[in-house]
């Protein structure tokens, strides 16, 4: 990774502290100048129902009643996870379209995006969205703010500390000190840039217990890409070798023989 763990910034999300005010959604739209949009009632408080090209982050609302806790409401801030090993960056064919910032965020450049949508296939978290112009859109950890020492808009506006921003290492130790044995995203995909302090299993919060880049994408990256070079090189080298050692086909000699 281009970012050392020392300089890597992250968000720590604590669903238990979230009151579902969705100020983070509004602050994000405000800073990133994203338009409002018509939404639909999906039967829950979740609004909009999913990430969109103009909703980089959403609060996912889920009601998970159990015997011990019959009224368990979970508010989980969802957005790009800024993976250390980012499937979107791995599969992206356009140089500079998705890039890693000094702070460890996965940012994007719409000018360089070719709109191929392969990042959707590479992402383990179903995050990238495409705008009306066919360009990638997603949370970029307010790379423009954090490069200037500011806090991302969502974390800045969060009234309860459910979204905290800071040095990634520090956030992990803070969460551990607060009694979270496991921080979601501490090690997955060489560490996520969006960490979660979950009290229960990640799947209760709607997160994948063990997120991973699709195996075929890993296979492509580790085997097919080198093979495409070795294959071409081998074919050209083989042809040259054949030309030097065996030489070209000679019809005339064949005639004499037959």
């Amino acid at each position: 990774m281009s970012t050392t763990t020392d300089t890597r910034k992250a968000l720590l999300i604590s669903p238990e502290l979230c009151i579902g005010c969705r100020g983070c959604q509004t602050a994000c739209k405000n800073w990133n100048q994203l338009p409002g949009q018509k939404t639909i009632n999906s039967g829950t408080y979740q609004n909009p129902p999913d990430l969109t090209p103009s909703a980089y982050n959403i609060i996912r609302f889920s009601e998970v009643p159990s015997q011990a806790n019959p009224v368990q409401w979970l508010f989980v801030s969802r957005r790009c996870m800024h993976c250390g090993d980012a499937g979107c960056m791995k599969i992206c064919p356009a140089p500079g379209a998705l890039y890693r910032t000094n702070e460890g965020a996965v940012a994007f450049d719409k000018e360089k995006c070719i709109g191929c949508k392969l990042c959707i296939a590479g992402c383990p978290f179903d995050v990238p969205r495409y705008d009306a112009q066919g360009k990638v859109s997603k949370c970029h950890l307010c790379f423009d703010r954090i490069a200037e020492g500011l806090t991302p808009a969502c974390a800045k506006t969060c009234p309860t500390g459910a979204i905290k921003f800071g040095e990634r290492n520090e956030l992990i130790s803070v969460a551990k000190k607060a009694g979270y044995a496991k921080v979601y995203g501490e090690a997955d995909l060489t560490g996520l840039g969006t960490l979660y302090a979950f009290k229960d299993a990640p799947r209760i919060y709607g997160m994948n217990d063990s997120p991973a880049i699709p195996e075929s994408v890993i296979f492509w990256h580790k085997v097919l890409k080198p093979l495409a070079v070795i294959g071409l090189g081998g074919a050209v080298a083989g042809a040259l070798l054949h030309y030097v050692t065996v030489g070209p086909h000679k019809d005339d000699e064949e005639v004499k023989k037959s």
Partner: protein, 202 residues
């Protein structure tokens, strides 16, 4: 001037050039995508421009490949014992000595196998390319298409240079089939005895 036989019609020659040039352009841009090669992108002005070139060249390639069905498929799927023996001796390409290969028809075994490989690989790379381009957003489908596209790409980057070598340096004089479409009768008798018999020249 010695007598010649026509091996390729004008439409075959034109189509083969279209297929060849579109294929090479697709391979060059393909490497650009595969390794995010800024130098290759720079040839096209912008990232997006290269994608447009790649996609539309893909259409040209696909139509051209479809047209080859009427030129080479029939011959390529008819194989017999001579073809099997040809394979066993590597088409005579593995030794310095001039060896007598089994009698061949209009296409030799290697060319038939090459055509079938390109046809199958071409259908695979074309179909998967159109899926990536035109049916985006269905994640599993895109993942499969991406894999198929890249598997076929490996086939192409190995097979195409070999084909070019065999059609030029390895067989001096063969390139004229791609230009005039004709072969001297004497050469044709040696290379394509079965075909020559069919058309009554041998």
């Amino acid at each position: 001037m010695s007598e010649t036989v026509r091996k390729a019609t004008t439409s075959e020659i034109v189509n083969h050039w279209i297929l060849a040039l579109s294929c090479i352009l697709l391979i060059i841009t393909g490497y650009g995508f595969l390794f995010q090669l800024k130098q290759v992108y720079a040839l096209f002005g912008s990232n997006y421009a290269m994608k447009v070139v790649h996609n539309w060249t893909g259409i040209v390639f696909s139509i051209s490949l479809f047209s080859t069905l009427f030129n080479y498929l029939h011959e390529s799927i008819s194989m017999d014992n001579d073809d099997w023996n040809w394979i066993k001796m590597g088409g005579g390409y593995l030794t310095k000595k001039a060896v007598a290969v089994p009698p061949m028809g209009k296409l030799n075994t290697g060319q038939k196998l090459y055509y079938l490989a390109i046809l199958i690989g071409g259908i695979g790379i074309g179909a998967s390319g159109f899926v990536i381009w035109l049916v985006p957003g269905i994640r599993t489908l895109t993942i499969v298409a991406h894999l198929v596209h890249n598997l076929c790409f490996v086939l192409f980057v190995v097979a195409v240079p070999a084909h070019i070598y065999l059609g030029t340096l390895a067989n001096p004089g063969l390139l004229r089939i791609m230009i005039s479409g004709t072969v001297p009768l004497e050469v044709a008798k040696k290379r394509y005895p079965k075909w020559m018999k069919e058309i009554g020249k041998l």
